[in-house]
């Protein structure tokens, strides 16, 4: 970048230089142009003047020539002459306008010396020398002036041949028979510069090829005109405009080296001058006109301004480009820097997460030691105070471990390492578990805890039950923390169902219908918590979901009537480590990390989470999560135990929302249920109805309210139906509330939260339904799954081996035991006889991973050999499950990585065993 920037600077500087050069060139070019134009105008002006001068001169000359013919005709050819001096003077005076350039005209005749005497007598004067003005000395011939215009009458009788200039002129004129000019000289009298034009007058018309001698002989006289050049030119120039701008000089350049000035001054002017040649008809004489401008060439302002302007514009443009480029470069540099910083920040973030993960993991190990030791310490002989201390320490330790687990989760999520399991689970059982977990607290607080799962939700789902449970536990934990009265209500629906219900509500205009909540307290409207969910906005008007039928989108909401979240804290509720306020964490503990983790987990389940919370009224958290449907016909729900099948229960509860929960749990047991709102109605249903009522469930609220009636109710119910009296139960929220319900025949009490198993147990106890086999449903299924399967157990520990074998045998499996990895390999030579193998990981000599590796290799070889006909794939791929005592976090991934199919913990837990085994044995 630096190089580039320098390069750009160089380009910019060279651009400036280029502009300068260009400007100078333009200036030079333009001023040259101007100069040329000036020159051209000077040339044209000069030529114009020269032509005019020449024309006028020619006009005068022609006239003088005409006069020479006049004189020849009327003076020489007539005898006596019809012209005398006065005639000539008058004539010339009158025709002076024809010769604007002449100041005077005179005529001299050729007089030979022999004729002098006669001539002088004839004229009455002697011929005078021109210079001396005395009678001329004797000469070969003379040319005395006989006629002259009045302006120059003083030249009469002067011998023209005596003047140097005149003589030369006269001689040349008669030889050439043309008009001849003298060199300019100072005129007599006026003392101004002038020239004399001389024409010869011949006795007869000469042929054009006459010799000079013939011409001399034929000469009669000479006509001369005086041209006052100075005044002549001046007059001429005055006629023209712009006379002031141009200085005109006229030179006689017959002698090249010494030009004679005919007109003009030596006023200094422009250095440039133009020369036009003048042709006055005398081939011997050469004249030139020199023109110059009076003023020097002015500074070419126009060119200068134009060029400077252009230069400035170009430089500015260049600067704009330069500045822009610099900006761009700067922005790019900044961006690169930002990218670098961002990378570093991200790296730091990852490092932080890794650090957290590592540290948390490392803390857990010694904490296990601490907790173990504390546990041991508790078993020793301690007094009461010491026991209290140890219990506190243990409690703190457990809290610390759970906190570390949370931080570890958070770190894993941030590091993107958290992966969801995909295993079968029963959602309803899971919720029963969770509500049992919170039952103690809710009972202690007297809060009603209710769970409702819609019938649309399939029995068995595939997903990550642990994480799902974590989310629900988290939300419920929060709710229970902040709720002192009222209820906590967990509902699970399929999204489609909710959408339809909204539409129906809208159609019926029931949107605002104030449904009474489970506990009767007002609640935050859960609908507002999922306003922003994408799952809803995607739904078309018919509520048709495009996703395939196997995917189940669940919507779970947890509603409480707690103190609610302050409005100012609502925006950062999902930010890690954020709590509503410091006082809250002091009062309730916790790290404030739970909701953040929940949000991430929901995100991993392709769902969304949202909430609505009204201070002093309560909060409702809602999330969606995507699961796979495990059973195809999800409408057919099998009740877990069939002993109550076909029974009918009567529920006395005025509140429909609460009744719905109860109905759900009873239906799970296969019991039909009728709902009435008070005792008298209930009584009439029992006594008058045509249906046998086996069970009567009464809400504590009803029981307390109608306590006066209750004993009567008990009595009357006990008498109906031929002694098969329905059993009475009261549904209560906590033990404590039940103090006052006195009476001799107190009905049994069921403490909420309602769970299927707990309900079943209570009903069994009360009704004496024989409980032949207390097996949990899972074990039934296990027996179903494992029955007749041949399973190999590999464990070096004899005790473990025996126990595992015993457990699997119990489920009907055919078990073979071996005590080392090597033996396992020899037993597991493909094609396999065994349906599955449970293998200990830590064994001497050859551990479980190594043995698995060997077995997998053998399977590969075998498969490739028998490539052509693979009769039964399962014979070539035996499921191997790790058995392990310590359930560390990475074990599942580790096992899969090492070629195993999963793991089960030792000692076997039925649920986990079922989960793992079910993946292989699809019955």
């Amino acid at each position: 970048m630096k190089v580039k920037s320098g390069c750009v600077r160089r380009v910019f500087y060279s651009w400036i230089v280029f502009c300068t050069v260009g400007g100078l060139y333009g200036f030079w070019h333009m001023s040259l142009n101007a100069c040329e134009q000036r020159k051209e105008s000077l040339i044209s002006m000069c030529d114009e003047r020269a032509r005019m001068l020449q024309d006028q001169f020619n006009v005068s000359m022609n006239h003088i020539q005409a006069m020479s013919i006049l004189i020849k005709t009327f003076h020489h050819n007539m005898n006596p002459s019809s012209i005398d001096q006065s005639t000539f003077a008058r004539y010339t005076e009158r025709t002076a306008f024809e010769r604007p350039l002449t100041s005077g005209v005179a005529y001299a005749v050729r007089v030979l010396h022999s004729e002098r005497g006669q001539f002088e007598r004839q004229q009455g004067w002697t011929i005078k020398n021109m210079n001396t003005l005395h009678p001329s000395p004797a000469q070969q011939e003379y040319a005395p002036v006989i006629f002259a215009q009045d302006t120059i009458s003083h030249v009469i009788s002067l011998d023209v041949l005596s003047g140097k200039e005149d003589r030369e002129n006269v001689l040349r004129a008669r030889e050439s028979a043309k008009g001849v000019l003298t060199a300019p000289f100072r005129l007599l009298k006026t003392n101004r510069l002038g020239v004399i034009l001389t024409f010869a007058v011949y006795k007869r018309i000469l042929p054009s090829n006459a010799t000079p001698y013939q011409r001399i002989q034929a000469t009669d006289g000479y006509l001369g005109g005086v041209f006052d050049v100075e005044s002549l030119v001046e007059k001429l120039l005055q006629q023209l405009a712009s006379e002031q701008a141009v200085i005109v000089n006229v030179y006689d350049t017959t002698n090249n080296t010494h030009p004679i000035v005919m007109y003009g001054s030596n006023v200094s002017g422009d250095s440039f001058s133009y020369v036009s040649t003048l042709n006055f008809g005398d081939p011997l004489r050469k004249h030139e006109m020199h023109c110059r401008f009076k003023q020097k060439q002015p500074w070419p302002w126009l060119a200068f301004n134009t060029c400077v302007g252009g230069f400035v514009i170009c430089v500015l443009l260049g600067y704009i480009f330069y500045a822009t480029w610099n900006r761009v470069v700067k922005a790019e540099e900044d961006r690169d820097e930002m990218t670098e910083l961002k990378k570093r920040a991200e790296a730091a973030d990852i490092a932080k997460s890794q650090f957290l993960a590592t540290v948390s993991h490392e803390i857990r190990t010694p904490m296990n030691g601490v907790l173990g030791m504390l546990h041991m310490l508790m078993d020793t002989d301690l007094d009461v105070t010491q026991q209290e201390y140890v219990r506190t320490a243990q409690g703190s330790g457990k809290a610390l471990v759970s906190l570390i687990n949370e931080v570890l989760d958070q770190a894993k999520i941030e590091a993107g390492k958290l992966e969801l399991e995909a295993s079968l689970f029963d959602l309803r059982a899971l919720l029963d578990d969770v509500s049992s977990l919170f039952s103690e607290k809710s009972q202690a607080k007297g809060i009603e805890l209710a769970v409702y799962v819609s019938d649309e939700v399939p029995e068995v789902l595939i997903g990550d039950p642990g994480r799902f449970r974590q989310i629900i536990t988290n939300l419920m934990g929060n709710s229970i923390k902040f709720t002192e009265k009222g209820h906590i209500y967990v509902t699970i629906h399929v999204v489609e169902e909710v959408v339809h219900s909204i539409e129906i509500d809208k159609e019926l205009g029931l949107e605002d219908s104030n449904n009474v909540s489970v506990s009767g307290f007002p609640v935050a409207d859960s609908r507002r918590s999922w306003e922003g969910f994408k799952a809803f906005s995607q739904v078309g008007p018919l509520g048709s979901f495009s996703s395939d039928a196997d995917l189940i989108n669940l919507i779970v909401s947890v509603e409480d009537t707690g103190e609610g979240i302050p409005l100012e804290a609502q925006s950062r509720i999902f930010t890690p480590f954020m709590q509503v306020g410091p006082s809250v964490s002091r009062r309730h503990g916790g790290t404030g990390i739970g909701l953040s983790i929940s949000k991430c987990l929901v995100g991993l389940m392709n769902g969304e989470i949202g909430f609505v919370s009204l201070p002093k009224i309560g909060s409702t958290f809602t999330f969606t999560a995507l699961f796979t449907n495990a059973c195809n016909n999800h409408h057919q729900s099998n009740p877990p135990s069939s002993e109550f099948q076909g029974m009918t229960a009567l529920l006395i509860d005025p509140r429909p929302a609460r009744a719905k929960v109860c109905r759900y749990h009873m239906q799970r047991l296969g019991i039909r249920i009728q709902v009435v709102s008070d005792l008298s109605q209930g009584l009439s249903t029992i006594t008058e109805g045509n249906q046998i009522i086996n069970i009567v469930l009464i809400e504590q609220q009803v029981w307390d309210r109608d306590s006066c009636m209750s004993s009567g109710f008990v009595d009357s119910t006990s008498r109906v139906h031929d002694g098969v009296a329905p059993k009475l139960f009261i549904l209560v929220n906590s033990n404590a509330c039940l103090g006052e319900t006195s009476g001799t025949s107190n009905p049994r009490v069921i403490i909420k939260p309602l769970r299927a198993s707990m309900l079943a147990a209570s009903l069994q106890r009360a009704m004496g339904v024989s409980c032949r086999n207390g097996e949990v449903p899972a074990s039934l299924s296990l027996g179903h799954l494992l029955g007749g399967k041949k399973i190999l157990i590999v464990d070096d520990n004899g005790v473990n081996r025996t126990v595992a074998a015993g457990a699997l045998k119990k489920y009907g499996a055919d078990v073979v035991c071996v005590s080392s990895g090597k033996e396992a390999i020899s037993k597991l030579k493909p094609p396999h006889d065994f349906d599955a193998c449970f293998m200990d990981i830590q064994m001497p000599e050859m551990d479980g991973f190594e043995a698995t590796k060997k077995i997998r290799e053998m399977e590969r070889c075998g498969r490739s050999k028998r490539d052509g006909f693979v009769d039964n794939l399962s014979k070539w791929d035996v499921p191997i499950l790790a058995m392990t005592a310590d359930v560390i976090q990475a074990t599942h991934e580790e096992c899969v990585r090492r070629g195993m199919d999963g793991y089960v913990s030792k000692p076997f837990e039925a649920e986990q065993l079922y989960r793992e085994v079910s993946r292989f044995f699809h019955s």
Partner: protein
């Protein structure tokens, strides 16, 4: 003695053992595994566990007596022992094993020795209790009663 009395004694004893943490749920699970096809399943397993325990405790004592101590070796023994104890549901033994392993990992000889002593102590307590339990069972069977199951 009266069969009923014996049965009550047995129930109480076993409940006490669970309450005091000697045994956990796994032991009840084991008892559930015992049926007509394997009437002595629990006793067999526990006998096996006793043999195993004595072997392992000896091995541990020997391993800890060596100079320098091979903590890996000790850890392997403790691991074995932890597995066995978990299988029979000997909760307290199992817990001590967990702590023991932490000390092994930290190569803390003093802690290891203390744990070993504790293990021996716990083992002898457990053995006595279990032997008493089995004796009661035998007496009940001898008296023609059935062994009550414990929920």
């Amino acid at each position: 003695m009266d069969v009923l009395q014996l049965q009550r004694k047995l129930r109480e004893h076993q409940a006490a053992m669970i309450r005091e943490g000697f045994l956990d749920d796994q032991f009840s699970q084991l008892q559930k595994l015992q049926d007509e096809s394997s009437p002595d399943f629990v006793i067999e397993v526990v006998k096996m566990f006793f043999d195993d325990s004595e072997n392992l405790l000896n091995n541990m004592t020997r391993a800890l007596g060596q100079v320098p101590v091979d903590f890996k070796q000790v850890d392997a023994h403790v691991h074995q022992y932890k597995g066995s104890s978990a299988s029979v549901g000997a909760a307290r033994v199992k817990n001590v094993c967990a702590t023991f392993r932490n000390f092994c990992e930290a190569q803390n000889l003093e802690g290891c020795v203390r744990c070993l002593q504790q293990l021996q102590h716990e083992y002898s307590l457990l053995k006595n209790n279990l032997q008493y339990l089995f004796r009661l069972q035998e007496e009940i069977q001898a008296a023609g009663g059935s062994i009550p199951t414990i929920e």
